[in-house]
Amino acid sequence: MMNIVVAMKQIPDLRQIRIRNGQPVLEDVPLTFGNIDKNALEAGVQLKEALGGKVMVVAVGSEALEDTVKEALAAGADEAYLVLDGKLENSDSARSAELIARIIKGIENVDLILFGEGSGDNYSGQVGSRVAGMLELPQASYVRSIEVNGNKATVVRSLEDCEEVLEMEMPLVLSVLADINEPRIPSVSQILKAGKKPREILDIEVPEGVQVKTISNLAPQMQRKQTSVESAQELIQVLAAEGYKGVK
């Protein structure tokens, strides 16, 4: 039996963000969970299915999260623990991590805490490490596989040039890579049942201050020629005209 916590971040659907006057337009962009967070959830659900236990989603964000979290409950989570506050729409990693750690401290007998390698929007890979630091738990990020034996887990951490096989004792914090699995697509009846699963909205005060201030956030200007060519041959001609070597 395992008690597994999965931290998931609500983000705007990145494919639907448009740029207006160099600024990203986020209004009316549907919210979802980050892709890699869905891998983290799938990893948790697979462990639960193999060993028994419970998967709890922990998320902190704006009020819309109450709706978004249904996605996770449909995809196999059993319960959700949320902190909702408009301020959290643009939180920094430190504050999110603090709130997540406080939620987790309130849950009993947690064995495994799973994160995505990076959130879909900020992709800074900080929150999981911060939570591990706050809870003083061992950690590994960039995890490609997890195997649990009793109170030990064998995980493979994938770095740029090598893979490390680690044996670690639970409780434990892991951040997973997208390669770890293929998240399931919930069925209609799972989606309908998700609406009835327990969702606890915690009354934790959200601190005002953030440690990171964003001075500007602009889409890079790209000036491209945007010329159509009709054939491979014409392409080679234009590249040759630009003087690329090897192109005759």
């Binding site: 990145l14 900080q126 630091g133 770095l159 956030n217």
Partner: protein, 311 residues
């Protein structure tokens, strides 16, 4: 500005950090504090660049044990009274950054690709929204942990005045056992260094076409790179060839992009290329809208044609 401490477990990255620190302190590397862990070669190297090196030699300290390395750096940061710790934003460095920031009570940013100093404030430049935008951000804490993208800064050059001091920290025995380290198969290609890249996306439907693509690359004097799914899901090419947010940020003179849809996490890795060519059967593919030359065509026909024409 109180002191700056730099650490990476990779030699080349540590030298880049040293250079970035020097620019920040508006001095040369002299006086900048650098940590080496169980690596006397790196300690010597850093000292040869003028750094004040603190060499931690403690066999109990495993690089794989993020908790222990973070705790060691926290103790050193306090002992040496620095206010900024620079780390490398490779996977190891990113994992470390959050933990160190938490236990040292610092603000933190990772994947920082540029630094600017403005009216005494240190501004960090990094991609956000999956790469759709570039943000300028400031850590408002006194203590800052900043992880710099590999390659964003040149390595520091040689300089006199370096020194190596022994360092001591107290750590608990490791809770983690390193069972095995497997070298990753794959050639050591450096797509970031290539002048020309031929980028394979999922629009390349037949694995057999890879050999033709290699011919095309050879004719152009190019390296072959790819989008993430081509390496991670299909495993046609090694992960070191991935262009994008979780791969490499490349700035070749020419990028020939074959069948890539152009989602931001990809384009962030190629948008600074000199000339971009996109070949895609979908006229409306986003990649086309950021290309200099667009060929709307089926790659099944174009790849053999290009190979033939360039042969």
């Amino acid at each position: 500005m109180a002191g700056i401490l730099v650490y990476s477990n990779k030699g080349t990255l540590a030298l880049e950090l040293l250079n970035a620190a020097a620019a920040l302190a508006r001095v040369n590397s002299q006086g900048i504090k650098a940590v080496s862990i169980n690596n006397s070669g790196m300690a010597a190297d850093l000292a040869a660049r003028g750094a004040e090196v603190y060499a931690l030699d403690n066999e109990a300290l495993l690089p794989a044990d993020t908790a222990a390395i973070a705790e060691s750096l926290r103790q050193l940061a306090e002992q040496l009274d620095v206010s900024i710790v620079l780390l490398s934003s490779d996977r190891r460095g990113k994992e470390l950054a959050g933990r160190l920031a938490q236990i040292w009570r610092a603000g933190c940013l990772t994947d920082v690709k540029g630094l600017q100093s403005e009216n005494g404030a240190l501004l960090c430049i990094r991609n956000v929204l999956g790469g759709a935008t570039v943000a300028t951000q400031q850590i408002v804490n006194d203590r800052q942990v900043i992880a710099l993208s590999p390659g964003a800064f040149a390595p520091a050059g040689e300089l006199d005045g370096g020194i190596i001091n022994p360092a001591v920290v107290e750590i608990k025995p490791s809770a983690l056992k390193l069972l095995e380290v497997r070298e990753k198969a794959g050639d050591s290609v450096d797509i970031e260094a290539a002048d020309i890249l031929v980028v394979v996306g999922q629009g390349v439907e037949n694995q057999q076409d890879l050999s033709l693509i290699q011919q095309i690359a050879k004719a152009l004097g190019a390296e072959v790179a790819c989008s993430k799914p081509v390496a991670s899901d299909k495993k046609w090419l090694g992960e070191e060839r991935i262009v994008g947010l979780s791969g490499k940020i490349c700035k070749p003179q020419l990028a020939l992009i074959l069948g890539v849809s152009g989602q931001v996490q990809f384009t962030v890795g190629i948008r600074e290329a000199g000339t971009i060519v996109s070949i895609n059967s979908d006229e409306k593919a986003f990649m086309n809208s950021m290309a200099d030359y667009v060929l709307v065509a089926d790659l099944k026909d174009v790849i053999p044609e290009l190979a033939k024409q360039l042969a």
